[in-house]
């Protein structure tokens, strides 16, 4: 299967983000997850399946139930992109700093030692 699903798609949906948050503290099975949402078990199953396809959740068989366990290292990928975007804005401030230095020299250069 082609890995067309990615981690962004996984977390782009509020329900899926909520699911990740819930299972981050304790692994849950579909039934107990469903109980926490105003949604059908089928709908929750689909969300979990997508999360599993993206590698954010691993399914674990325990007795008769399948539990969802989070695979949070995948989320680091997102953090990396955010950091890169932040860096883009930080570089504006780097430019500003250099520019202010130049401006200060022009304005007050003579008064300062």
């Amino acid at each position: 299967m082609k890995a067309r699903r990615d981690v962004y798609q996984a977390i782009a949906d509020p329900t899926r983000r909520a699911i990740i948050q819930m299972i981050a503290t304790e692994p849950l099975d579909i039934k107990s997850l469903t109980a926490r949402f105003d949604m059908s078990q089928q709908a929750i199953s689909l969300h979990v399946k997508l999360l599993a396809d993206c590698g954010l959740v691993r399914m674990e068989q325990r007795g008769r139930n399948r539990f969802c366990r989070p695979q949070l290292n995948k989320l680091e990928e997102v953090a990396d992109w955010v950091a890169q975007y932040q860096q883009h804005w930080e570089s504006k401030l780097d430019n500003l700093e250099v520019y202010l230095k130049k401006l200060k020299k022009e304005r007050y250069g003579k008064q300062k030692k």
Partner: protein, 154 residues
């Protein structure tokens, strides 16, 4: 889930920098289009500012000219302008609200730049698109370095 709406941590960006210049000068660098054109935009970009009305409701049109010859339009509207204190503007697309705070610290200025996107979905989209572009750029850089090395070897 009630506090979810107030939690903006998944759709915001915050920059804080202590600038080694008095607040008057920092303010000027931010509000005078001639100054802004000198430092805005990533390295290698040039900027043309066609409109900058620094007052509530005023428009701000800035065009960034990329090194690749592409132009990137930036349209914003100023929502709040408090001299030497605060500027709030709304960027049209991608839609986000930026709040720039200026705080006098003697001869220095503490600058806070906060960007709030409409939704986490949209923020992720922007970050992802940006990351894709950035990744592409790095690839092109890698390729050109590689080609340069190849040329040297021949």
């Amino acid at each position: 889930m009630e506090n979810k709406k107030n939690d903006t941590s998944d759709r915001e960006l915050q920059l804080v920098r202590l600038l080694d210049a008095p607040v008057e000068l920092v303010w000027e660098a931010f509000t005078d289009p001639e100054h802004i054109a000198q430092w805005w935009g990533p390295n290698g970009f040039r900027n043309t500012i066609t409109r900058m009305e620094v007052k509530p409701g005023g428009k701000w049109d800035l065009m960034m000219h990329g090194p690749d010859g592409r132009d990137y339009k930036n349209e914003s509207v100023f929502l709040e302008v408090v001299k030497h204190r605060r500027i709030v503007y709304e960027h049209v697309s991608p839609k986000f609200t930026a709040t720039i705070g200026f705080e006098e610290r003697g001869e220095q200025t503490l600058l806070t730049w906060h960007m709030l996107f409409e939704s986490a979905e949209q923020f992720i989209q922007v970050v992802k698109t940006f990351g894709a572009d950035e990744g592409l750029k790095q690839n092109v850089e890698k390729l050109s370095r590689y080609l340069a090395a190849q040329l040297e070897n021949n």
